[in-house]
């Protein structure tokens, strides 16, 4: 039984490492920041999650398992939020989308982050407060 668990843990570790590698490959190969954000967040979360899952399987103590599962839960909650914030900031600061982009639905809506950001403290408006 423990042997079976260890084999499962080994396979999970290999799968997680492959996902992490795909994320890194995506970050190097994909053409624009939005796509890179997509690659890094999705594959990064699953890769890290699989490795932490194998840790949870490998240590039989309840406390360790609970901490590993808590780490997975935290990663699943925090990584999409962080990726969304970077993507939004990247769009708002006007990064170039790759030449093959065929649709930019955010451009003409009132939710366009760039318009919201620059409309708030737009040209000529004195910024009050803050350093």
């Amino acid at each position: 039984m423990t042997d079976l668990l260890q084999i499962l843990a080994g396979l999970l570790v290999l799968g997680g490492a492959c996902f992490c590698f795909v994320a890194a490959l995506g970050i190097v190969r994909l053409p624009d920041p939005i796509m890179r954000m997509h690659a890094s967040s999705k594959a990064g979360t699953v890769g890290c999650g699989l490795i932490l899952l194998s840790v949870a399987l490998h240590f039989p103590e309840g406390g360790v398992m609970a901490r590993a599962l808590a780490a997975i839960a935290f990663l699943l909650i925090s990584t999409p939020v962080a990726a969304h914030m970077i993507g939004r900031a990247a769009y708002a600061c006007g990064v170039e989308l790759c030449a093959g982009t065929i649709a930019d639905e955010l451009k003409d809506t009132k939710d366009n982050p760039r318009r919201l950001l620059l409309g708030q403290a737009g040209p000529g408006v004195e910024r009050t407060g803050g350093p």
């Binding site: 042997d3 260890q6 084999i7 843990a9 080994g10 396979l11 570790v13 290999l14 997680g16 490492a17 492959c18 992490c20 590698f21 994320a23 890194a24 490959l25 970050i27 190097v28 920041p33 890179r36 954000m37 890094s40 990064g44 979360t45 890769g47 890290c48 490795i51 932490l52 194998s54 840790v55 490998h58 103590e61 406390g63 360790v64 901490r67 590993a68 780490a71 935290f74 990663l75 925090s78 939020v81 962080a82 990726a83 914030m85 970077i86 900031a89 990247a90 708002a92 600061c93 990064v95 170039e96 950001l117 620059l118 708030q120 403290a121 737009g122 040209p123 000529g124 408006v125 910024r127």
Partner: protein
Amino acid sequence: MIPFLQICIEIALGVLLLALVLASVRILRGPSLPDRIIAVDLFGTLCVAAIALLALYTDQPVFIDAAIALALVAFFGTVAYARFVERRTVEETNADD
């Protein structure tokens, strides 16, 4: 620990090292600030995975606490960087006019 698991962990550590090198390539090459922030974020996530692997490899469950702490720091760092990019955009636009 059975030899199969040990070999798996060693291979995974090698693959993770390769992934860290690729992430560093993107940090160095840029070209824009958001690119670098995304790469730093991935670097943090990869380090969390590497620490979890070390916990398996050395059979020391204490490393999980370090992994959780690093995941927290990476998340808050990324959020802070995203806010910084937005603020810098506003300030640059104001400076241009």
